[in-house]
């Protein structure tokens, strides 16, 4: 009796839901693209920015700033290479100062791009299509900025090739047992794979630009870069598989890269560094800071380029949720480190952490705690998650906090080593500060060039998530449960006479030929 009632109520519920779905009043998820755009609207909205003849004044102003920063960067690098590492604040026992902090900060920022393009792709998070192109560009540029620091930090940059297994007159090889060598391989593989992934994603969109090109040089350059892409289904088939595989490769790669970066610290015997929590903690921090950077960049770009219908407030809110989650993870790791230092019973470890929170660098520690653990908690409130000014401010705060995290880890652990006579207070010099600011200018320059000349949104992917892209969309009703949609993709050899084919949908019978 009870069973019957239950069955009855479920049936009614089911019917109600399908009735709602049929008249369109019930929708489980908000649309990914707003404003009722057609395929052509998307092409137009995205391509026009890469095609317009007149560059906006604001672009030139920002580009000027970026270029000035880049020039400053290169001048300071030349200054440093000429004079040696002494122009930086690094000295024993703080052999790693700003350069490694900046390196880890930039690499970490890059990781959000891979997370968006690869991990969210594997999880079928279709909202990523609006932001993955620019996030991947950010990855590539951030890794370029990151790579500058270790390359220059080696001191004699003219023998930087010693880091690679290049046969040389000394008949010597790199020491592959060193985590720093692992880092060389991890970061260079990461850069190469990110670049490949980005380019593969770009090919169909470059073909779109090619087919719209009007001038002699645009036709030729884009024709070269698009590789003759025609959108053939025989090509899409291999393309999609290759894209899926690249995503599946990039996912463990990105996790390994920041784990290896953390090995630079964790495999040492320095109290404060020698902890097993480092790999996951660094990865979470990387995603955290990277999402903040994507947010900072996209909030500006979507307004500047009128892409509010493609990069919607829902996208931004989702990113804020990820920032909240990863920020809390990172905060949890900070607290775990403290607990383990106490629980280990090792007095050096305990001292390192007490010194971190209450010693001469307490100011940096509490900036880190405030920016990374406390302020992101504001994203629990939906109003704040959906407020552009609030999220912009918070994203900047997270970027500052994550820089301080690396500073705290590096400097507080080193400045009081095992020998109290060498204890001191480390500070970066003006060269350190301006070189770091210079890399931001370099990043801005590259990102602006990307916005100006490349399709900044993956057009083919956004089109593919529109409801009109689904062949079932054109069926009657909601396209499900009518039976007709099952039959028409049924291959002929499986159902010879296809008796269950709806006569309206079936192709006309073959001619007598």
């Amino acid at each position: 009796m009870a069973n019957q009632e239950h069955a009855h109520s479920t049936a009614t519920e089911h019917k109600d839901l399908s009735a709602l779905a049929a008249d369109g009043s019930y929708d489980a998820s908000p649309p990914l693209v707003t404003g009722n755009l057609a395929f052509d609207d998307i092409t137009e909205m995205v391509s026009k920015h890469a095609e317009k003849k007149k560059t906006p004044l604001m672009w030139w102003i920002l580009f000027g700033i970026g270029l000035a920063g880049s020039l400053m960067l290169f001048a300071l690098l030349a200054y440093k290479i000429w004079n040696g590492v002494g122009v930086w604040g690094n000295n024993q026992p703080v052999g790693w100062g700003w350069p490694i902090v900046n390196f880890v900060w930039w690499v970490g920022i890059g990781h959000a791009g891979t997370l968006i393009s690869a991990i969210l792709f594997l999880f079928r998070q279709q909202w990523r299509t609006a932001i993955n192109r620019s996030a991947e560009a950010m990855t590539i540029f951030a890794v370029m900025c990151a790579g500058i620091f270790p390359a220059v930090h080696v001191g004699r940059i003219w023998v930087v090739y010693w880091m690679f297994p290049v046969p040389n007159q000394m008949e010597m090889w790199p020491q592959f047992k060193s985590p720093l060598m692992w880092d060389v391989f991890a970061v260079s593989s990461y850069f190469t794979v990110s670049l490949l992934f980005w380019y593969v994603g770009l090919v169909p969109d470059l073909a779109t630009l090619r087919d719209r090109a009007k001038t002699f040089w645009r036709k030729r350059v884009l024709g070269f870069l698009a590789l003759g892409w025609t959108g053939a289904n025989r090509h899409w088939r291999n393309y999609e598989k290759s894209y899926l595989i690249l995503a599946a490769l990039a996912t463990p790669l990105v996790l390994s890269v920041h784990s290896v970066v953390s090995f630079d610290f964790a495999t040492s015997v320095i109290p404060g560094w020698h902890t097993t929590i480092f790999p996951p903690y660094f990865v979470a921090g990387a995603i955290f800071s990277g999402f903040a950077m994507v947010l900072t960049l996209l909030i500006i770009a979507r307004v500047a380029y009128n892409l509010e219908n493609i990069i919607t407030i829902n996208h931004l809110e989702k990113m804020n949720i990820i920032i909240l989650v990863t920020g809390t993870l990172v905060g949890f790791a900070y607290i775990t480190e403290f607990f383990i230092a106490w629980y280990s019973g090792v007095e050096y470890e305990q001292y390192a952490f007490l010194n971190r929170a209450f010693g001469p660098y307490a100011w940096a520690y509490w900036i880190m705690m405030a920016c990374n653990l406390i302020t992101p908690q504001l994203f629990w409130f939906k109003k704040i998650r959906r407020s552009i000014p609030a999220m912009f401010t918070l994203s900047i705060i997270v970027n500052i906090g994550m820089w301080y995290e690396r500073f705290v880890i590096t400097v507080t652990s080193l400045h009081r080593d095992f020998l109290p006579s060498s204890w001191g207070y480390y500070a970066g010099t003006w060269v350190d500060v301006l070189t770091f600011i210079g890399t931001m200018g370099f990043f801005l320059t590259l990102f602006l060039l990307f916005l100006r000349f490349a399709p900044m949104v993956a057009m083919a992917e956004v089109k593919a998530v529109l409801p009109e892209a689904d062949p079932h969309h054109y069926e009657e009703g909601d396209g499900h449960g009518t039976g007709a949609d099952v039959a028409f993709i049924q291959p002929a050899q499986e159902t010879e006479s296809s008796p269950d084919t709806d006569p309206d949908d079936a192709p006309p019978p073959p001619d007598a030929s």
Binding site: F39, D40, T43, P165, E171, W173, P174, F176, F185, A186, S189, T192, V200, P204, A207, R210, D211, R212, L227, G228, W229, T230, G231, A232, N233, R234, H235, W236, R237, N238, Y239, K241, S242, I245, L246, L249, A250, P252, L253, S256, V260, F263, A460, K463, E468, A469, D470, P471, H472, H473, Y474, E475, F488, I489, P491, A492, D505, P507, P508, D511
Partner: protein
Amino acid sequence: MIDDLTRQVKASMGIFESREEDDVYGLLAEFSNPSTLMHAAESVRERGYSHFDTHSPFPIHGMDRAMGLGNSKVGYFTFGGGLTGLIVGYWLQWWTAAVDYPLNISGKPLFAIEPSIPIIFEVVVLFSAFGAVAGMFALNGLPRPYHPLFYSERFKKATDDGFFLHIAASDTQFDQNDTAQMLRDIGALNVELIQDDGVADA
């Protein structure tokens, strides 16, 4: 025999040859949306055509089945790349440390697998990615900057919002008039005859 095989492999990449006598490359039909294109592809296949392809601005879900295409072979290339990476990554670290320039450090083994894992892993990922991308372009016959379909002005829409079906003249069933009529019957908005003499001109 070899020629036939080459033709088949090329057809799988979407590269078809024009008819020798009149340079006819094939027929290009435009359809209104992804759904009609998929119906069309299915009925073209049911009529026994094999040298045809659809062109759309984005991949259409279900089109592989409609066209009767199997699983992509990119995975094999990736696996090959990964295997090469595994061998290279292992060999590089072993040969340099244990054979070419052995350094005795406190009598420790010259080579051990444990500290070699990170680099082996990175090299495997790198080579697999090379395999996946190179394999994809190879299977697609790209780069191929010259393509006969580019002669059609309308075909520019294939990367914007156009949905096209192309039947190549090299198909055994191809007949200029009958095939065109068939395409119209299954709902083509327009049908174009593409000719290609194999010589690119600007």
